[in-house]
Symmetry: C2
Subunit: 201 residues, 2 copies
């Protein structure tokens, strides 16, 4: 039996991400993708059931999986709160600005009903997505260091500004001066941290 050509599999995924980032999800077609990857449309269907299957696997496995790994790299849930948040911010920020295509699909994941549903199902099936972060937050709530919120709310407060700053970073890449510097990121990280600390009166 002829073995799968893994290089072609990788080409499909990376070129699909590139088209989505440059032209949007609405402009990705199977035929365009095949032509850009230098393969027959049929070959895509050997590796993926159909277009939806390709998009979902791209989003969940290729993008979210790698993003989670990058964010959690060298992260210690037992670290002091401010230090832990800083680690997560810097990991996430550096990964995303160096992986523009992945960031683009993450943004699509918040807009497209198809990807949104897939994400919700993944979150339900594997409750431990970004598990160490949940553990980290629970520890700090129980220690009376930060305010209690449901985990989704904690995530919105702590990390959604970071994603917005990545978007601004890319916007400013085409302009003469970048305003999203490493110092900006650290200052913003401190601000969100300060926001959910229980203030010592």
């Amino acid at each position: 039996m002829r073995p799968k050509n893994l290089i072609k599999e990788e080409a499909i995924r990376s070129i699909a991400l590139q088209i989505i980032a440059d032209e949007g999800l609405e402009n990705l077609s199977m035929q365009k993708l095949a032509k850009a990857a230098g393969i027959s449309p049929r070959t895509i269907y050997i590796k993926y059931e159909n277009k939806e299957d390709l998009l979902i696997k791209l989003f969940i496995e290729e993008v979210l999986g790698a993003y989670e790994k990058a964010v959690l790299k060298n992260f210690d849930p037992a670290a002091p709160f401010a230090e832990g948040v800083r680690k997560l911010w810097l990991n996430g920020f550096h990964y995303l600005i160096n992986n523009r295509h992945a960031f683009a699909l993450i943004q699509h994941g918040k807009a497209s009903p198809l990807l949104n549903r897939a994400y919700q199902q993944k979150n339900i099936k594997e409750g431990d997505f970004f598990g160490p972060i949940q553990q980290f937050l629970t520890l700090n709530v129980e220690a009376g260091i930060i305010k209690y919120f449901p985990q989704e709310v904690h995530r919105a407060l702590l990390f959604s500004p970071m994603l917005d700053l990545v978007a601004e970073y890319f916007d400013y890449q085409t302009r003469p001066q970048q305003i999203i510097t490493p110092e900006t990121i650290l200052a913003c990280c401190e601000a969100v941290t300060q926001g959910i600390l229980i203030s010592k009166k």
Copy 2:
């Protein structure tokens, strides 16, 4: 000369928004839209140059315009900082949870290169988009009440968690218990406010 039927114009816009919210931008087609609105495809082309023109006008005029108006309703740039932010949060949150279709297109605006470009151009042409908020922030920076950041960064810190919470609100609408309550919103609003205040030591 036969006058334009404004009811049909409104139908095109509202049904387009509905399709985008329910099926995603990638599943909106001119023929599908015409059929759903009970009109001929040609009629859409009387009011819009082409599909891109329709999407951009929907996004900029119909959605962002109305959103800006709702957020700024009864907002006073001279109000105390915490009070002003609270007003903006409540205005925005209530508008978005009552206008699911508008929220969906705003999310697409962050993902789709077409809409993203259109937004950037609008922002460059009319520098006063969300002008009263800029004024409000400048006032509070100059008074030494809040930390200085570029306006885009201020907006990321103050408002991106709110949009994320709206997304969570809709996610939880299909589940037995809503976790994003008015109390949650107020508590989160206080957290982001606390984050950018200059702490009195």
